[in-house]
Amino acid sequence: MMPECQHRWKMTNIQFGFTVFEKCSHCQTVRTYFSTQDTWDEYREGPCLWTIVENAQTFKFDLQCTSCNHVESFADLLGLLYCTGCLPDCQVEMIRKECATRKTWILVAFGFLPEAKSQPIPERRLRMLTDHFNQRRDTSRSTIEIVWFDQIKNLSLCRGEFIHDVGMLSLETPEERKPLF
């Protein structure tokens, strides 16, 4: 029997584009998607009027093992958010504080909404993502841990920051960001 591959991950199928956050003024739903176009148009869909709340440059990728060539799709990953400690009783903030003592940095993975609420990225694939970023770093100095966004106590109050290119084109200091959800 072949020994199980100790995967060494690299990014593959990298595609640059935009993460779009849009909100309906009728039903107040927020949804997100990846687009290769820089779009800001609002549009109607039945009774809903969808307006772009944020449009950020980002990228999509899959992970490929350099040993066995296995490819794991991350088409359902919207992006990574870092905790700003905005809600002291949020589970992410509690994990962040606890992990900071051993130099482990917490990032929060998001899927595209609303699908991600009912179809989370499984723990197995979050572990692959964590392994990938740790394999790219000197782990004797610090490590990365990626958790799923359902650990955030209240999304509509969360002021965590996505690591994507938003507000990067202005020479002015950016305003404090409002909750996205």
Partner: protein
């Protein structure tokens, strides 16, 4: 070459508190996506971006330091976050082009 050596030899100004570490290669980019996709551990990241998002991006890819070029003012919240994570932010009035030339002459190349 370490970040400490680089500060002295390239005339960079440290803006945050950090432990010196080895610099291994350089990435020049003003896009976080680019850095997240392409940076390697120990890379020196040269950018004009000063938004605080550069700190978690540098942390994620294990950059040895961020160098802000063109004499751009770095917001205090960016510096605070970098200090919290011991991320080195260095500063120079030189343009990215001029700094890259200087670093190349010092023997630093893309990894």
């Amino acid at each position: 070459m370490t970040t400490k050596d680089l500060i002295e030899s390239a005339g960079l100004t440290p803006l945050t508190q950090f432990e010196p570490r080895d610099v291994d290669g350089v990435i020049v980019s003003d896009m976080l996506s680019d850095v997240m996709a392409g940076a390697k551990s120990g890379n020196l990241w040269i950018t004009v971006q000063t938004h605080k998002n550069i700190v978690p991006a540098a942390n994620l890819v294990d950059a040895s330091a961020i160098v802000i070029t063109g004499g751009k003012k770095v917001p205090q919240d960016t510096l605070d976050l970098a200090n919290q994570h011991s991320i080195a932010i260095l500063w120079t009035p030189l343009s990215s082009f001029e700094l890259v030339g200087k670093l190349y002459a010092l023997g630093l190349v893309a990894k």
